[in-house]
Symmetry: C2
Amino acid sequence: MAKLKLPVPPGFTISTKVCEYFYENNKKIPKKIIQQAKKELAVIEKITKKKFGDSSNPLLVSVRSGSKISMPGMMDTILNLGLNDKTVLALKNKTSNGRFAKDSYRRLIQMYANVVLGIEAHFFEELIENYKLTKGVIQDTELEEDDWDGLIKNFKEIIKEKTKKDFPQDINEQFLGAISAVFLSWNSKRAKTYRKINYIPDHWGTAVNVQTMVFGNMGENCATGVAFTRNPSTGKKELFGEYLINAQGEDVVAGTRTPKNLISMKKSMPKIFKELKKIFHLLENYYRDMQDIEFTVENNKLWMLQTRSGKRTAKAAIKIAVDMVQEKLISTKEAVLRIDPNTLDTLLHPTLDEKTEKKIIASGLPASPGAASGKVTFSAEEAERLKEQMQDIILVRIETSPEDINGMHAAKGILTARGGMTSHAAVVARGMGKPCVSGSSEIKIDYENKFFISGNYKIKEGDMITIDGGSGKVMLGKVPTVKVDISGDFSKLMKWVDKFRKLKVRTNSETPIDTKTARDFGAEGIGLCRTEHMFFDEKRIISVREMILSKTLSDRKKALSKLLPYQKGDFLEIFKIMNGLPVTVRLLDPPLHEFLPKTDKDIDDIAKALNISHNDIKARIIELHEQNPMLGHRGCRLGISFPEIYEMQCQAIFEALAQCKKQKIKLVIPEIMIPLVSTAAEIQILRNLVDNIAKKIQKEHSIKIKYYVGTMIELPRAAIRAKDIAKYADFFSFGTNDLTQTTFGISRDDSGKFLNDYVDNKIFNKDPFVSIDERGVGELIKIATERGRDQKKSLKLGICGEHGGDPASIEFCEKSKLNYVSCSPYRVPIARLAAAQAYLKKKIKI
Amino acid sequence: MAKLKLPVPPGFTISTKVCEYFYENNKKIPKKIIQQAKKELAVIEKITKKKFGDSSNPLLVSVRSGSKISMPGMMDTILNLGLNDKTVLALKNKTSNGRFAKDSYRRLIQMYANVVLGIEAHFFEELIENYKLTKGVIQDTELEEDDWDGLIKNFKEIIKEKTKKDFPQDINEQFLGAISAVFLSWNSKRAKTYRKINYIPDHWGTAVNVQTMVFGNMGENCATGVAFTRNPSTGKKELFGEYLINAQGEDVVAGTRTPKNLISMKKSMPKIFKELKKIFHLLENYYRDMQDIEFTVENNKLWMLQTRSGKRTAKAAIKIAVDMVQEKLISTKEAVLRIDPNTLDTLLHPTLDEKTEKKIIASGLPASPGAASGKVTFSAEEAERLKEQMQDIILVRIETSPEDINGMHAAKGILTARGGMTSHAAVVARGMGKPCVSGSSEIKIDYENKFFISGNYKIKEGDMITIDGGSGKVMLGKVPTVKVDISGDFSKLMKWVDKFRKLKVRTNSETPIDTKTARDFGAEGIGLCRTEHMFFDEKRIISVREMILSKTLSDRKKALSKLLPYQKGDFLEIFKIMNGLPVTVRLLDPPLHEFLPKTDKDIDDIAKALNISHNDIKARIIELHEQNPMLGHRGCRLGISFPEIYEMQCQAIFEALAQCKKQKIKLVIPEIMIPLVSTAAEIQILRNLVDNIAKKIQKEHSIKIKYYVGTMIELPRAAIRAKDIAKYADFFSFGTNDLTQTTFGISRDDSGKFLNDYVDNKIFNKDPFVSIDERGVGELIKIATERGRDQKKSLKLGICGEHGGDPASIEFCEKSKLNYVSCSPYRVPIARLAAAQAYLKKKIKI
């Protein structure tokens, strides 16, 4: 590819390696670099001399940050470096434009004081404003050379007062100060926060670009502007930018003057406009991407200062990628690689109307995207009651538990005071595609008196609030939302995505609604159907409780037989929707106490309904209480202790299939999954149980059913003993939530208490519950994969933890040669895209 | 070694492999074996013919189990096989002893009916007893041939009635029935239970020994007996046995007649006695171990029926081993290998007086050995109060928590209704060397009304009970105990032990008393000093709580400064006792909420003492509450969030050392241990913290202190990332309790709910919290060992979990090339012995 010939002011770059050195050596710039820079500057000096004559020796350069992406808090540019009390006069003489020279000098002093010397900008701005008031003028451009002379004097006094030093007249000092300021801004608080939020590595560092100055402020045939080669908001192929006549860069950005739409340049500077359009076209063809551009016009000559790939909305990204394929600018592969999968989230959920003003009253973690408004309620029951009255509800809880499921279903959104990105509330909400803000530690909930306090706000039950699960913000009142249109471009792109994808994408779902949504989003099967979620329905929970409170096997079986038709019906509905695709059904997983009532009132109700004494129920609750339920009597341990529970569930699965057969519905292939296995013996015993039930039902209905039995690998021991376990398993599904919990020894429900300290101390770069920990958990997955396939080549491998919807983790799954990922319905398109990208990246590397 | 020439009746053995076949093939004996047996029986037949003449064809054999060890529930012997209605007459004719022949026949029918046909013995015994009553005789020997004829008829009728079949006249049927019965008895309920308790593998199976009959019941010059070559109770070298004139084997064992002391045979059968003594000597020399022997005298001829190594008490085992070394019968190595380390426990703790009658009211797990009697109390505070009144207390709790530590210290013993062998109560009690029965699910505690119910017993506060932590029994009233004397033999043996041992043995201890005990038992350092246990003292807990309830860093530091002198004092005392040995100090580990009060009353007290509102404390308790505290904000996570806590602890350690220096006490080498590390970054940050404090204190006191910093490897991720972590660690200590919990995903506090199901289903052969799971947890230890040493060859490796005192786990530690094990004080001698055995076994294998 030939280098582009563009009107760029001569200059040079100081690399990011110097930034690294700078931080490792007590914030010093290496001597070698200084010497090299001086040589380069000598070249620029020559050019400057040629331009302005050589009597005054002015060295006029700009210094700007060269970081890969623009980042809030990063220093952008210092212009007019090289001016001092002497050279400013030379510049005046040579240009015969005193106003221009002094304007440029005052700009340098102002910028330098702020950016390098750390003096707040308002001191200078106030001086200018007051001066204009006194003089009775409105625009800066109305000020003359004399005016600037006076202000320059005042500026210098401020610097002296604040730093006890004079503004540096030494050109080298100015120059080194500017470079250091760029490096220092890499670690400004705002830049660090931005990187933390966006997972940008701290070690990248920034480069520094040094350029010969060109001036947009030399008069009316001068200008400066910024532009995007396409509309960054819609993606439309149109000029999009702003400019100012007789101005320097910061005037456009700072808002002191109102810039004009670039289109108007067609009239004001037609030659330049034409040239600019041509260059935009060249740049897009060269970089094959939409560009974000800065330019300056000096005495009717166009200079290009900077270009980089422009930031854009998800919608724009898709439109641009699809358009560029049609323009034959990029290939479909490149189009697929261009879209950040995480940004799709904003397309799939309704978003808040940007135009409305918002009163933010609290913030928390952006746990499940989308926006929702509703009346505050503090109990799941109340949420259900109000839902029946067709009211919109936001369920506000300290934290949620499986008991709240129905209330969560009834609510438009969920707000919790505790819990991380993978707390119960967050996981369930994402599964339901419902907006959720979790762990909003600012809010203090008083359940008894039904209100919460946040800062100065007191929000009572029934008050209207809005939550934005994409940003974690909580707002007063109802903020209108807009449903983003998933245009034809989206589906075009997804077709290409599926062409390049090797990993299958399934969904985690256990309700007909979710299953339907996921299918619409392109899910190729269910990777995790959590049967316990089917137990919380009001009509069923009573039988579940009866079962748990049974004292004899026969009583337990009686209660289970009441659950059988419900469970069978659930499966039947799901199987119909999945129409022949694989469905992984996980047998009962949570400890039984999760199903028991918590309050005395609830206990009384159950006692009456089941004709058991209040004390008996209480005794059973105490008996079942666990210190660490995550590590307790759950998963296959229940199946070992109470085989009758798993037997009922298997019976429901196979009878539902028999029913499908009768109704001539295409049979799904059930993959029955035994949870929390840590030994081969467990799966051996329980596989046996499944096979026996399967035999029985097949015989009863005289049919043949194809099914698989497998296990979740969610405990370190299961990974290590994968070879034994694979003897009895047709598939492994990595339950990376629990595997991460046990590998790190961290309870995700409790991790909120120290996760921030861990990120601040750089112990975690990323929450390991969000993106898979490749070096620890990942190694266990690799061990299990190798050992499992070593035992059984045909072993099917998937992942069904929260990580199944995280692009970075999906890339790991592709590298680890898994067969599929499974994620919540709303993340299915994200996973499809991420899977395609992972495959393409792997191929590129090979 | 030449084969011994002994008067053994000819016979043959059916191997354990047949037992395996038997169970794998629907309980059938292979035809090949039947044919082989018939050939062998033909040989025996010849001998019998020779003995009794050949007219009647009698085949007289005994069939007995040939299992490696005698086991309750296993069939022992069936004698007189081959007798039927015909052959019994032949035997009568040939011996001219009708009474003998009929007595032998009725014995066969009786034994066969019971053992092979499964008819309860009492049916036959009652018949005999009633008959004797009618006839007015007392001893069986007073019955004549006619009497037995009648009884034989009655016996046959019982068999017919119960089995609807006649007693088998077919000699082959009898024979096969007897063999099957031996095999079947391998899986009798009692045998299975015995194996489960004693960790004897189910797959061993039993052999069957078939021998030509010799008769001890042919008259007054006949006898039968059992003997040990040394006293199995004391180990003394003396004849120890019993015999009966004119009797068959089961008479001695069954207790129907009172056998005579073997010594009296010197008078009654002097020739036989002399011969027997000679044979005992031969056997001991041949087998080089104390023998358990069965013999029969037939018409003044001695026959040896069986010999095997005899069971013995721990005390006897030591005496026999030491004596045999002195007799030059075995080497010191063999002596060391002879003692089962687990049995030492009974020597180190006082035991219940065997002679006293006991009223057992409940039973639980034998959690911590030793016996104790005391008044029942249900609260730790009450236990402390009564201790001050010099009363003996048994603390009875549903389960214990760290808050109960002082009460546990005050109590003589601990009884809990919940919790396994490694529950809090069990672990702490073992550490304290206090008897404990845990998980006694029979007892129902009513805290409010201060009593517990067990079966028909209602035990109120203040009632006296006795617990036996060695057997798990709970008894009514005070049962007197005896302190077993640790004789000179014990210390002789331990000297040999230390000669062969490579693994160092340290102790887990944090009190001066425990430290002293451990030193007396031979501990070579402290492997785990849990600093949090030092916080529960009444005077300190208030400052601990103040620290936790602090809202600002400076308040927290103020509270910590109050704890500093206590902590420093603790270390000083321990350092003095350890006098130069290494001491591993673990920095604070449990989550902070463990230190907060639980009841409203306690909260009120704290609120008053600290001048904080009740609600503020309650809010903080709610805030700190965790779903899964085991996986929560604990270990080094506290050190990251609150570095000031670890700083105070390090200051205490180094200042205590400075104090030692001043007092000219030999400096211990502190090994400062960072708990719950899962990433290299954690230990890097905290090692830095330790180093900084060390520098500061060394400078302040102008001294040089040698110390190490290391970590516990107690999370799977730590094992996997051991190479990175070893960069910043001088040592690893495997915390196998937590490593087992996280590797299996099992909370040991909650595992009691399903552990039994797991053992019953053979998923666990042994509780993995008792004996290390070599295939899972063990592999992680191996990975960590290899990767850690790969990074740092000098890395010191130890184990400080409960497994450090378990012989099987110690063998694994030796195989894995660890440097030391650390266990509770009372297990130090056990660990020393196990370590020596592990080393010797490894050498033998190589």
